[in-house]
């Protein structure tokens, strides 16, 4: 992996912020986009734009072919069994809302849905609302102080009333990589279906949904070098074929009369309205880019960054790393005793460093940890050891200003 070549492919990395070269460590929120992805969007609008499906003219057929072959590529990328199991959404949040809506009739009073303490609001609130509406119980799987799940406890929380386990693959705050395959196996043995929130995983680790054995897996394109506004819900055919639609109109319709409507087959049943075609094509480009770079090489590089960054910031007195699971990826959260995350983030920004501060849309977790928030540095393939050196120096300066 040639890091200089990679960096040269991301135009925004040449930018300066507050007069300093940009150091972008907010990849957990969204990654920057390589030139190929940006070009793919403009190519679509310069040469290929047309509405997909049902058009008889050439442009429409071409756009449809491109759109459907992108779906097929994405199927391969996550190794789903069938192309119709790939549903395009706006992103992880919409995927989970879609699923929570579609599952509504299936959840009845007394049922239970399991989530963990480390969930993002997007994999928490839809289930909380669903449970409230249906008289079901939302049960929260606790975590250990280091940010790991206790699998024995997790197993004990499942019972015949458990209708779903909704769990993140990698924590956006703590960086914990959950032993997701093992967890899915525990759930399967108890007959509990599993939704995996892969938003923080897809750009950092190999995802093979058949190998994992989950019922549902979701991710957003924009956290994996693709544009915003496109995401994927992988859902097993046998599930979605039985569940009701989520939104109505457009491509999801089969036949409509004044009295009645019937709905299109999968995946179209869940893709109401004109889809984000350029987003889908650019998502394919982004995933191909990951594949060409090599997910294992990327993971290895990012692991090196994460370990190095952790070592460097721990040299600064008062720094505490939040989330010390054995297996971590992507995110490094920390607090500095005697400082507020907001102040640290503001001053780092002045030095050209983009980090995220606050609760990271995981308030229940932050409350559980008893913190006002954390500072989070999160890495991508284009980040470097040199950037971490500058970051650590800047953090040192920041801390001395604040104390």
């Amino acid at each position: 992996m040639d890091i200089n070549k990679i960096r040269a492919g991301f135009p925004i990395l040449q930018r300066k912020v507050n007069g300093k070269p940009l150091i972008y460590f907010d990849n957990g929120a969204t990654t920057q986009k390589p030139k190929q992805v940006i070009d793919r969007i403009s190519k679509y609008y310069l040469e290929e734009n047309s509405n997909v499906h049902r058009g008889v003219h050439t442009l429409s057929q071409e756009a449809t072919d491109l759109f459907e072959s992108a779906r097929e590529y994405i199927r391969q990328f996550i190794n789903a069994e069938e192309t119709k199991e790939i549903i395009f959404t706006r992103g992880t949040t919409e995927s989970i809302n879609l699923l929570a809506t579609a599952l509504k009739p299936w959840i009845v009073r007394g049922d239970e849905i399991l989530v963990t303490t480390m969930e993002h609001h997007s994999n928490f609130v839809p289930w909380q609302q669903l449970c409230e509406e249906r008289g079901a119980k939302l049960k929260i799987i606790p975590i250990e102080r280091n940010g790991e799940l206790d699998l024995e406890f997790l197993a004990k929380m499942m019972n015949p009333y458990t209708k779903l386990l909704a769990i993140t693959h990698i924590s956006n705050v703590l960086g914990t990589i959950n032993p997701i395959k093992e967890i899915i196996k525990i759930a399967k043995d108890k007959g509990v279906p599993v939704l995996v929130d892969g938003a923080q995983a897809i750009a950092h680790t190999k995802v093979d949904v058949q190998d994992l054995g989950c019922d549902f897996y979701t991710f957003s394109g924009h956290k994996a070098y693709a544009p915003m506004g496109i995401g994927v819900l992988y859902a097993k055919f046998n599930w979605m074929r039985r569940l009701p639609p989520y939104q109505y109109g457009g491509e999801m319709i089969e036949e409509v009369t004044f009295e009645k409507s019937t709905f299109n087959e999968l995946p179209y049943k869940y893709e109401a309205g004109t889809p984000n075609v350029s987003g889908v094509l650019a998502l394919e480009t982004a995933l191909r880019y990951i594949d060409e770079t090599g997910i294992n090489a990327i993971a290895k590089h990012e692991q090196k960054l994460l370990k190095y960054a952790e070592e460097k910031i721990l040299e600064i007195s008062g720094v505490r790393v939040i989330g010390t699971a054995k297996e971590k990826a992507g995110a490094l959260s920390f607090v500095v005793d005697g400082t507020h995350p907001y102040d640290v983030g503001m001053l780092l920004d002045k030095m050209g460093i983009a980090v995220r501060t606050g609760h990271h849309c995981a308030q229940p977790l932050i409350d559980f940890l008893g913190l006002p928030g954390t500072v989070r540095a999160s890495f991508a393939m284009y980040n470097t050891i040199e950037e971490i050196d500058i970051f650590a120096e800047s953090l040192k300066k920041t801390v001395s200003m604040l104390r």
């Binding site: 995350p341 907001y342 102040d343 001053l347 002045k350 006002p372 200003m401 604040l402």
Partner: protein, 145 residues
């Protein structure tokens, strides 16, 4: 000695800041102001006095004294935010409701702290200014009754 108007106070804050040409000095000063801000009475650090900013919490208390002027006190868990609050207090504390309601609220932009006014910074500064004005309005109504 005649006391300063809000406008004069704002002008003097702007002048104070104009000597810093480097962001670090400016922020160091802001942090210093934040640390020096007199503590708010603990009982006012409750949800009633909390201004909903997303990331750092700010508590603002106001009191109309017999001289017909409003006195503010405040606190925040973030020190930069506290520094900014202290500038607001410096400018607006000790003035009548009418003076506050007629005052220009944009003086922070002139000292290059505009970024804190952006809602994405989520420090609740905009809500803080609104809250100061709201206190002034409420006290004015009470006075006129």
């Amino acid at each position: 000695m005649k006391s300063m108007t809000i406008q004069e106070k704002q002008q003097s804050i702007i002048e104070e800041f104009s000597i810093f040409d480097d962001w670090m000095d400016k922020y160091s000063y802001l942090i210093e102001l934040g640390k020096e801000l007199p503590a708010i009475e603990e009982k006012y650090k409750d949800s009633q006095h909390l201004i909903s900013g997303c990331q750092s919490r700010v508590w603002l208390h106001a009191e109309l004294k017999k001289d017909g002027k409003i006195y503010f006190s405040a606190d925040s868990d973030a020190v930069i935010t506290k520094g900014i609050v202290s500038l607001l207090i410096k400018a607006f504390s000790g003035h009548s409701p009418d003076e506050i309601l007629n005052a220009d609220m944009d003086f922070l932009e002139e000292i290059g702290l505009k970024e804190h006014l952006s809602p994405t910074r989520s420090n609740g500064l905009v809500s803080m200014i609104k809250q100061i004005q709201l206190y002034a309005k409420v006290f004015k109504l009470k006075e006129n009754r």
